[in-house]
């Protein structure tokens, strides 16, 4: 149990380090920054405590906010997806959502796509709405949400494939 916890903490740290020191400095076409740290919340096991997940979201959000000088936009977006994860699981996996093992392996592809997509999309939606915080920039916000969600989704999907293959 403790070994598993330590392994998780190590995993979170590695992901955060990658986010802060590698992906934060990627600016594809000027504005695309993949948020790979969302993989932490995607791979958090369903059997684990939800309250802890919200705390984890808060801490990760603050760290990313501090590194990107976004003052709380990431924090609010991450705690929201952590809070909503129960419903997203139910919506994506249906009756199987209570099974601890049934997350990455042994689930239908379409279920996984929905789950990944929903988490990434909701996060981007909240994050960019908060960052721009101006209704006059509506189309800019929409463009950012769509493109960044797609890029983040591709990167996270690839990383997930790598992890599950190992």
């Amino acid at each position: 149990m403790i070994r598993e916890q330590l392994r998780n903490i190590f995993f979170y740290t590695i992901i955060l380090v990658f986010q802060l020191f590698v992906f934060n400095h990627i600016n594809l076409v000027g504005f695309i920054t993949p948020f790979i740290y969302l993989i932490i919340f995607i791979h958090y096991k369903t059997s684990y405590n939800k309250t802890t997940l919200i705390f984890l979201g808060f801490i990760v959000g603050i760290i990313v906010d501090l590194s990107m000088q976004t003052y709380g936009s990431h924090t609010f977006a991450t705690i929201t997806i952590c809070y909503l994860r129960t419903w997203i699981e139910k919506y994506s996996f249906g009756v199987n959502s209570n099974l601890p093992s049934a997350m990455i392996n042994g689930t239908q592809l379409i279920n996984r796509l929905t789950f990944f997509g929903l988490i990434i999309f909701i996060h981007s939606l909240i994050y960019y709405s908060l960052v721009f915080f101006n209704i006059e920039l509506f189309w800019t916000i929409v463009l950012n949400i769509i493109i960044n969600s797609i890029i983040t989704f591709i990167v996270i999907w690839l990383i997930s494939q790598l992890i599950s293959n190992k």
Binding site: G72, T80, L130, F133
Partner: protein, 265 residues
């Protein structure tokens, strides 16, 4: 107590989520000028809306008080207006008029001898034979008073005769009512030799103990010059709508006693 704790434990995720949300919004608000201005705008909008709502309610409950203030102010202005007119006409410089405000509590218009009752009597300074006007013009004369109430013979009373003049020519006549249409009065005693036309304004003549000169009564709506007696028969469309009078002013001419002494001599 137990149930409160249970519900907190049950909803701990929601409570935690809301708390952390407030923390992150607070951080946005204090650190980012964009969000400071944006959230400030929303807060201003909301507080503006809510204070507008509460001030509307507040002003509704203050209406009575405001109304009273306005009436008092009106009273003073009316006093000044009458005083001013009187001074021009008679070149008087002393204060000969005082005005008392009152509300109508009973009013009739469908009889031949209509009266009104007001909520001021001797305690309020009202006495018999005082003139009564409204913001639009002449109403009538105080007939009798008790301590707290007074009755008025209104212009819509076949017994009342009020001294009146044509505003433009100063020809003197008298106003009566024939008991038929409450919106039409009769102007008598205007000789055929004087020129009148429809639309001329009729005001009080000032030759009575009740009214000062120049208080409006109505306008000429129709006249007949075929009378054999040498006088016009003139219909006056009255300014006041007697069916909807609620607030009136009682005029007291303080120089009446002096004039009466002279007349008695």
């Amino acid at each position: 107590m137990q149930s409160i704790i249970n519900s907190i434990v049950k909803n701990r995720n929601l409570i935690l989520y809301l708390t952390l949300s407030i923390i992150s919004f607070n951080s946005l608000y204090t650190n980012s000028s964009v969000h400071y201005n944006g959230i400030g705008k929303i807060a201003t909008y909301l507080s503006g809306k809510s204070s507008f709502f509460s001030s509307s309610i507040d002003s509704y409950f203050n209406l009575k008080e405001k109304n009273k203030k306005l009436i008092d102010e009106n009273l003073k202005l009316k006093e000044i207006e009458l005083e001013y007119k009187n001074q021009i006409v008679e070149n008087k410089s002393f204060n000969s008029i005082s005005i008392i405000n009152a509300n109508v509590i009973f009013n009739s218009i469908n009889k031949s001898k209509n009266i009104m009752v007001i909520d001021k009597g001797t305690n309020g300074g009202v006495d018999e034979e005082m003139g009564v006007i409204s913001s639009k013009g002449v109403i009538g004369i105080i007939k009798s008073v008790t301590e707290n109430y007074a009755s008025i013979i209104s212009l819509l009373n076949t017994d009342l005769k009020v001294n009146a003049i044509l505003k433009n020519s100063s020809t003197i006549g008298s106003i009566t009512w024939d008991g038929l249409n409450p919106k039409i009065l009769k102007l008598n005693d205007i000789p055929l030799s004087s020129s009148i036309k429809i639309g001329d304004t009729i005001v009080t003549g000032g030759m009575s103990f009740y009214f000062t000169k120049g208080i409006p009564i109505g306008t000429i709506s129709n006249y007949d010059n075929s009378s054999l007696e040498g006088y016009y028969e003139i219909d006056i469309s009255v300014f006041n709508d007697f069916s909807s009078i609620s607030n009136i002013y009682v005029i007291e001419r303080t120089d009446n006693d002096e004039i009466k002494i002279l007349l008695n001599d």
